[in-house]
Symmetry: C2
Subunit: 363 residues, 2 copies
């Protein structure tokens, strides 16, 4: 497979995303972006046995320390973040150190935030190990941890020096996590890239079969789409909100079910089905177009309905406290047409209730 | 007193420092820099009884929450920082909130860091209540907390929306803290502004007597000096190091004595005496110039000697682990002439030992 190199254009914070197969074995890719002799690899208990050694081996000649965190969103906290600082200070890492995030979104978010804060900012490199983190947290610079009162409430916008998206790592990814990553990929097609949506319709079987070339293309095109949006709105002033397509509904599902029961990408899958349903009720897309969206979600083994036990009242309540509610007005990201999302506060409450009712499992 | 307004020029992160008397009562100064309706005042147990109420009163009409932290460097930790996040999330502060730091350096550093991290960045305003924080942390954007293995190891560069330096607050400042602030003021004269050093020689009695006009002038000129350096080197690449004049020696004293026994400014006072002594041994300043520096430090009731129990061996050891040691080479900020500091690694070890010996109390 040819390696793709995508440049995320953010002025003096620009960086490349390398997309290919067996990138971990190519030490020179990492060395290109490491300026000091100290390195700390941050990973978790699940990933360490699988991929820590090849990364360590490709860094021979450096001071390589490792910090293995417990696996899971429950550990994305300030207290666990402090374990990274303990390691860095205990091993006397100075300002020229480089952190390497080897893991999924949680490891990436925490490592990026640790890099943003350690001695007021050191370099970091991301090696995402899930499809979701390859297409989502690779681009955008969002880093941080959760607080008991809210997800991602403590963090920073901080860009990596480089991202290595190694398709070979996806061979060990659990099936549900593959689907969860595809949810975000479908999102890019729906919100801004109709030709990509059509490509996904034609290539979903290859993606689900983990065809390496198909996955690499989907990752590259997803990152390009996200990078386009982020370059126009790095610090989330307005446009970037369209990346939350499906997420307001999805967050309500995640909150109701307890985080960790549904994967984030699964909740986004059902959330996109709901946002598409509401878009259809507004007349923005046709019956046939809605059917195509639902069919693509189903082919990627994503849920297209909210859990049966979630009532319209519960959605109303949970979406009212969502952090995207600004000045008491509900704003939603909806489709204006296939391949084009908009942010709107012009929501018909009756149509929204109809969506809650229609998109409940068993309805 | 006329209010001075000094603009710290950092492109789109520029902000004003207002310097005057009774600024707290002028609500419009704060309102100019508050864009939302939510405000959280962060202060400590010592300052709250003195000045919290007037600040609250000048913000009538807003949602004003307060977070009162324990007083002291020992509480400048991630765990105490989390109390600020608890308050913000508990009171549902959104991204348009403004934090107000009402206190000295610890409160300023922690509040600035909380603002940098809360929802990945919200506004903050500084109201420094010590002379040291007016002339030091008002300019430079350094925020953060300590770690058991190192001071200020976790933080961010983050600029406030505005700084209000209210001279009236200095009336209640303990005498030792007044002197500690003057140490940093003298530093600006020594490292880059010889005419200011001469002004300080002429006006030290007025400063020590808390003449409001003299204090305001000294604060303004200090902030101008620091802003000049920071504007040229916002993220501490090189030039900014001269701001550490006296600090490498001072850190050794603080570490040896245990933080909190000597005030930071006191240690910097003795540290500047030591750096000046070494500069004199190198022939950079004359006998008479060294005497003028020591005399000015004495008039501001600052120590000009290290503690009697600190041996040259102890200095050697402690300065070897200082974070300013890069690649195994000791770099020091020394005077090239009166009013001009340089960073140099061209240190004569014998002369350095002579300084350790000569600058020990009782020597």
């Amino acid at each position: 497979m040819t390696m793709h190199v995508l440049n995320v254009d953010l002025g003096d914070r620009s960086y490349p995303i390398y997309i290919g197969e067996h990138l971990l074995a190519q030490g020179e890719l990492l060395h290109r972006h490491i300026k000091g002799r100290q390195i700390c690899i941050v990973t978790n208990e699940t990933i360490a046995p699988l991929y820590l050694r090849p990364v360590q081996e490709s860094l021979a000649g450096h001071q390589v320390d490792t910090c293995v965190l417990p696996d899971g969103e429950a550990y994305k906290t300030l207290a666990v973040l402090n374990q990274v600082f303990d390691k860095l200070l205990g091993a006397r890492h100075n300002r020229t150190t480089t952190l390497i995030a080897l893991g999924g979104g949680v490891v990436g978010d925490m490592t990026g935030f640790a890099a943003a804060c350690y001695q007021r900012g050191v370099d970091f490199i991301q090696i995402p190990t899930t499809l979701l983190s390859m297409v989502d947290s690779s681009v955008g610079g969002k880093t941080g941890v959760n607080h008991p009162l809210g997800k991602n409430m403590i963090g920073a916008f901080y860009q990596p020096q480089a991202v290595l998206a190694d398709m070979a790592l996806l061979r060990t990814l659990p099936e549900r996590e593959l689907s969860a990553g595809i949810a975000e990929i479908i999102k890019y097609g729906l919100i801004g890239d109709y030709p990509f949506f059509v490509w996904l319709e034609q290539n979903m079987d290859a993606l689900m079969a983990r065809d390496m070339d198909a996955l690499a293309y989907a990752v590259k095109r997803s990152c390009e789409n996200k990078a386009d949006v982020v370059a126009q709105d790095e610090r989330e002033g307005g446009l970037r909100a369209i990346l939350n397509f499906g997420h307001t509904f999805g967050h309500a599902i995640e909150t109701a079910q307890g985080y960790g029961n549904w994967l984030h990408g699964e909740a986004v899958g059902a959330g996109m089905a709901m946002a598409s349903d509401l878009s259809w009720r507004r007349g923005a897309i046709s019956d046939g177009e809605l059917a195509r969206i639902l069919s693509l979600l189903e082919r990627s083994k994503l849920p297209t309905k909210a859990p049966a036990d979630m009532t319209p009242e519960q959605f109303t309540s949970l979406m009212g406290v969502d952090k995207k509610v600004l000045d008491g007005r509900l704003r939603l990201v909806l489709l204006e047409s296939m391949g084009k999302a908009i942010t709107t506060s012009d929501i018909n409450p009756d149509q929204l209730q109809q969506t809650f009712v229609a998109c409940r499992a068993g309805a």
